[in-house]
């Protein structure tokens, strides 16, 4: 995100503090992304819609308290959404669900120069199931939402080095198990 875009967003936020109607522009801009992010962790359209709505409502209620901390505004929305998802699972006492798009998984495997194979895919799913939730959250933000480590750290309320460590550990295990050549940074 460019400096100019961040400045423009900040101007909208300043307007939203005085007039909540101005927040609509940010709502329209980020609704789809936040919806997809939540849906990937819930896999239920109606529950996702509720949590997404709750996310934007919380953002709107607390917009006056928002401070720029070196990450785009969207990271703040992701953080609220992540908290809403955690709250939902705590309340329901259910296993966490990660519903991944096959298209994206295929893209990632192809990036690693591996041929697409149903067996690899099944092994990958078993491997992902063995990972702890915090590691899966980092991987989701890194490879499905294309977030950098600074944003991931902010969203999950961990340190940047913690975010890097979780990603590297997960990828190291992935390389050992599958002989994949996945880059640490997909943007490189």
């Amino acid at each position: 995100m460019s400096e100019a875009e961040i400045q423009q967003e900040y101007a909208i936020l300043e307007r939203s503090k005085r007039n909540p109607r101005a927040f609509g522009e940010l709502y329209e801009r980020y609704f789809d992304r936040i919806f997809n992010f939540i849906y990937r962790q819930i896999d239920d359209e109606d529950v996702t819609a509720d949590l997404c709505s709750q996310t934007f409502l919380s953002a709107l209620r607390n917009v006056t308290r928002y401070e720029f901390r070196g990450v785009p505004f969207s990271a703040w929305l992701y953080r609220i959404a992540s908290n809403e998802v955690n709250k939902y699972y705590r309340k329901k006492k259910r296993d966490n669900v990660f519903s991944l798009e096959e298209v994206r998984v295929r893209e990632l495997i192809e990036q690693a120069h591996e041929s697409w194979d149903e067996e690899i895919l099944q092994k990958l799913l078993v491997y992902l199931k063995s990972l702890p939730t915090d590691m899966l959250q980092v991987l989701e933000l890194r490879f499905f939402e294309d977030k950098d480590f600074k944003e991931i750290a902010f969203i999950l309320d961990i340190t940047e080095s913690g975010a890097k460590m979780r990603t590297y550990r997960a990828l190291d295990r992935l390389r050992k198990n599958f002989n994949l050549r996945i880059k640490y940074d997909v943007k490189e």
Partner: protein, 94 residues
């Protein structure tokens, strides 16, 4: 460690499906309701605080008034001493 369930879905959720849930008007109505409720609660808290302060003021004033008024003089107690009963059995006043 919490357990995770990994699911694989064929397609991304379509923009049309997401658009069905996008409704800023509804969100604003919820926000307005929240603001109204918040204002009502703040007003109620103010009313309670003011009532409490008035009550405290009145109690203090009453206590001060009680302190300021002198205590009534002690009433003389008329004592009647009875002589020990005479042998005749009639009590005589001294």
């Amino acid at each position: 460690m919490s357990r995770n369930e990994i699911r694989l879905r064929k397609n991304r959720i379509s923009p049309g499906d997401i658009a069905r849930h996008r409704n800023y008007g509804k969100l604003m109505r919820r926000h307005d309701r929240y603001l109204k409720m918040k204002r009502s609660i703040i007003a109620l808290v103010y009313v309670l605080i003011i009532s409490l302060m008035i009550l405290l003021y009145m109690l203090t004033k009453r206590a001060e008034q009680k302190k300021a008024t002198p205590a009534p003089a002690e009433k003389a107690v008329q004592t009647v001493h009875c002589a020990p009963p005479s042998r005749t059995g009639v009590a005589t006043l001294k």
